[in-house]
């Protein structure tokens, strides 16, 4: 009797033995590995390889797959919104793979929960931050009433449903990538990153779901996302859901004058910085501009002075005294509201926190205290939270209805994510996002750039959703 074809999982890859010669060229990404004298394929090709074997009626012995169906039961009665049901149907129709793109606050986690219960396979949820990992853990525990594993941030517990960070998955998927049948990638626009993609490549999970508000990437690598997770099968934009499943919102831009002394300091620093760029023939508009500036600035005394000047003008535009006065005015104006104050850097966040005696949440905040800050904000013990970037993504703070952007990058994604933090629907909630922009500074142009996004376009009254599969 002929020895059957064998598939085994090895460090994020599949080892195939006894492959019939006629089949070698037909199995996707199958290569002969001289180091181990076996055929090898990336683990994510598992589904295609097994499908091919079945299609050709080729018997095989599968020791790669280390999971079986699991009956996950909801502990709560839940009913999805129509658009959530459409998204679920679209994902099923797409072969239980694909990306669902919905604005923040539209209930992406809820869709994932329904699909975990539908799919009935051990599930690994990938998230970008420790805060999100804990948030998913809480939600999944509530919904399924069973122990949920945590893998990342010092935790190493695998369960049938486990939440991990992308960073941890890159390190550990080569060991456990064959134990999950369903892989969920939250904030999946991160996945095509140079390293993060290996979290998906090293897993055999046949069923895959990507969740994001904005799958597009500046580097155009969303095609890599679709190759690893599946095509975008459903999407809806923020203004389509505003006032329905998301809160009504308005964006208020406040152009802030600097104080005279700060203006002089700003102009001096800015001109020193720009003069250096001119003399050193550095074009900051090119992709290597910033790197060249850093390099040249480190080479001479004048360069170091220019770098210092760069920091000074940036710091002044980010956190001028007038901006701080505006923050105070808005705090007073919104007494009784739940407010998030965003800054571009930690220094400004702590400067504001110290000045107004407010809790500051950054990546430097230790886990216990960050949980205390978030819980305190949710239950109303703290009405204001200052943060730099850690709350940009995913963390659920539905009570927030006012956001002040004191400073930020030119990234449209960052801005939309920050807006998303205050959009979760609550009865009678009107969300307001304030942007403080220093007049006649580089910030003005940065602001213009990020306002290109459709979230800033006039709100539509129509309720139209796009489903690529329908």
């Amino acid at each position: 009797m002929e020895t059957p074809l064998k598939i085994n999982f090895d460090k994020g890859t599949l080892i195939l033995q006894n492959v019939p010669e006629a089949l070698e060229s037909q199995l996707p990404d199958l290569r002969w590995d001289e180091r181990t004298l076996t055929f090898r394929a990336p683990a994510y090709r598992y589904r295609k390889i097994v499908s091919q074997l079945r299609a050709h009626d080729i018997p095989y012995q599968d020791t790669a797959r280390q999971f079986t169906a699991e009956p996950f039961m909801h502990q709560k009665t839940i009913s999805p919104y129509p658009y959530q049901s459409e998204a679920i149907d679209a994902w099923h129709a797409n072969g239980k793979r694909g990306v669902v793109s919905l604005p923040t606050g539209a209930g992406k986690t809820f869709i994932a929960i329904l699909l975990i219960a539908d799919t009935q396979r051990p599930t690994l949820v990938h998230v970008p931050t420790i805060d999100l990992m804990h948030q998913w853990h809480t939600v999944l525990t509530e919904h399924f009433g069973q122990e949920i594993g945590l893998y990342g941030g010092g935790q190493h517990e695998l369960r049938n449903i486990t939440v991990t960070t992308y960073q941890s998955a890159v390190m550990h998927a080569p060991h456990y990538g064959n134990r999950f049948g369903f892989a969920i990638f939250d904030e999946c626009h991160h996945l095509p990153g140079e390293q993060y993609q290996y979290a998906a490549i090293s897993s055999i999970a046949p069923f895959r779901l990507g969740l994001t508000a904005t799958p597009e990437r500046v580097d155009g690598k969303e095609s890599r996302l679709y190759a690893l997770v599946g095509e975008c099968c459903y999407e809806a934009q923020v203004q389509e859901l505003s006032g329905k499943t998301l809160s009504e919102y308005r964006v208020v831009t406040i152009a802030v004058e600097m104080e005279d002394t700060e203006r002089v300091q700003y102009e001096e620093a800015r001109s020193a910085y720009l003069n250096f760029l001119k003399q050193a023939k550095i074009n900051m508009g090119t992709p290597r501009g910033w790197h060249t500036f850093l390099w040249k600035a480190s080479q001479s005394e004048a360069g170091r002075a220019a770098f210092k000047a760069y920091l000074t003008q940036k710091q002044l535009s980010f956190a001028s005294t007038t901006k701080q006065e505006w923050v105070w005015k808005l705090i007073q104006r919104h007494r009784g509201d739940r407010m998030l104050i965003f800054t571009q850097d930690n220094d400004t966040a702590y400067q504001l926190g110290t000045r107004f005696f407010l809790p500051v949440l950054t990546h430097q905040t230790k886990l216990k205290e960050r949980n205390a800050f978030l819980n305190g904000f949710r239950d109303g013990t703290y009405s204001i939270l200052v943060t730099s970037k850690v709350l940009n993504e995913g963390v659920d703070v539905p009570e927030a209805n006012v956001a002040i952007i004191v400073s930020g990058s030119g990234s449209v994604r960052e801005h939309v994510q920050r807006l998303g933090r205050i959009l979760r629907k609550r009865e009678g909630k009107q969300a307001v996002l304030y942007e403080l922009i220093s007049k006649q500074t580089g910030e003005h142009f940065v602001n213009r750039r990020r306002r290109q996004h459709h979230a800033y376009q006039p709100l539509k009254n129509s309720y139209s959703l796009k489903s690529r599969s329908s």
Partner: protein
Amino acid sequence: MLTKDLLQYKTKKGQILPQFVNPVDNQLLAIAEQLIAVFEASPNTPRATLLESSKQIIDSTPGSPIVKRGLEKLLLDRTEFDTAPNEELIAFRHKLFTETSRLLSEKQFRDYTDYQQSVQEQFDETELGVKLYADLPSCQPVLTFNTLSAERLLHRYNAAQVQGLLLHCNTVTLKLADSMTAELRQLFKYLRFNQLLSTIRKEGELYEITVDGPLNLFYKTKRYGMNLANFFIAVLHQPKWELAAEIQFRNKQRYLLSLDESCGIKPISQQFLAYIPEDIQLFQAMLQNKTDDWQIRPGSQFLPLAGDFYCFPDYQLVHSSGVETAIELFHPWHQGHLIARLNTLAEQKDVSLILGVSKELEKKPLIAEALETSTYFAAFGFTFRDVPTMRSLLPILNTLV
């Protein structure tokens, strides 16, 4: 290790040339000594104060600031800070923020000063702002600093220049002479520890070892860059070596890094050549208890296998009659290696290699079946729990004499 902005290199005709410092340059040695002295005196000093002191040296001494910042970075890597949460301060913050939240929600203030005074009156702290976030990293005190000599720091700096480049490569090719023994064992231990794969071939008088990871078969991935950079430490222990690696930063042009022992970097990790590892000592003791005929020593030479492949066993055993054999051990993470070895040995006629397989690894269905069907393993293989035992090994040894 050094971050990309601290790397010093030049590129020329497709080659990348790390810019090493002269480890006996008196001026640089003096600066290194000053920096080390600041770090040696740092225990109990806050991080910001330590960095301010080292910045003064960086700014006031001659030479490239990037080199000096690189030295500072390597010293920081050897410094441990007190990062434990300050519970007293955390409790204080909670109390303060609960109160400020109440004040801001309930009370209308004339202006900011009015608010500030209200808070300060309640907490009776003149330096409230200073105290509030006094546990941020910049305030964390130094616990310990693992010192070293100035010359060693400069060698470490040169090694870090190479490691910093290797982070951006996908494969390393080494050429080594056959005459080395314990150093090679150390090299292969590092290789296995870093979960890398290798192909060993003979090229004239030298062994060419290609080192990378499983996914390199499909992607030009830098996924194993950190493993390869760590592995480089073992290369420095080899008396004669040549290294080649293709370096690519992001998706930019590729450059070839070529180095050999003439670069003069001294080993930066502990060498355990004279040291007999605990497992060997235990193995030796067990063997001597059972028999005087066999002597065991660490693996020290390549063993030719079928085709043009080689392996580097863990132990070598010599019988009083002159018969020699070797043992290669396979731990739970060596699944791929074991399958490869069984495949190779299936064709082997004249090799004397005993295979020891961890019972954990044997639990895997594929391995269990492979072992069961391997006639070679039936004759020359055994399984072990933590360390090999004489009860399973001696019967095999006895068949060889």
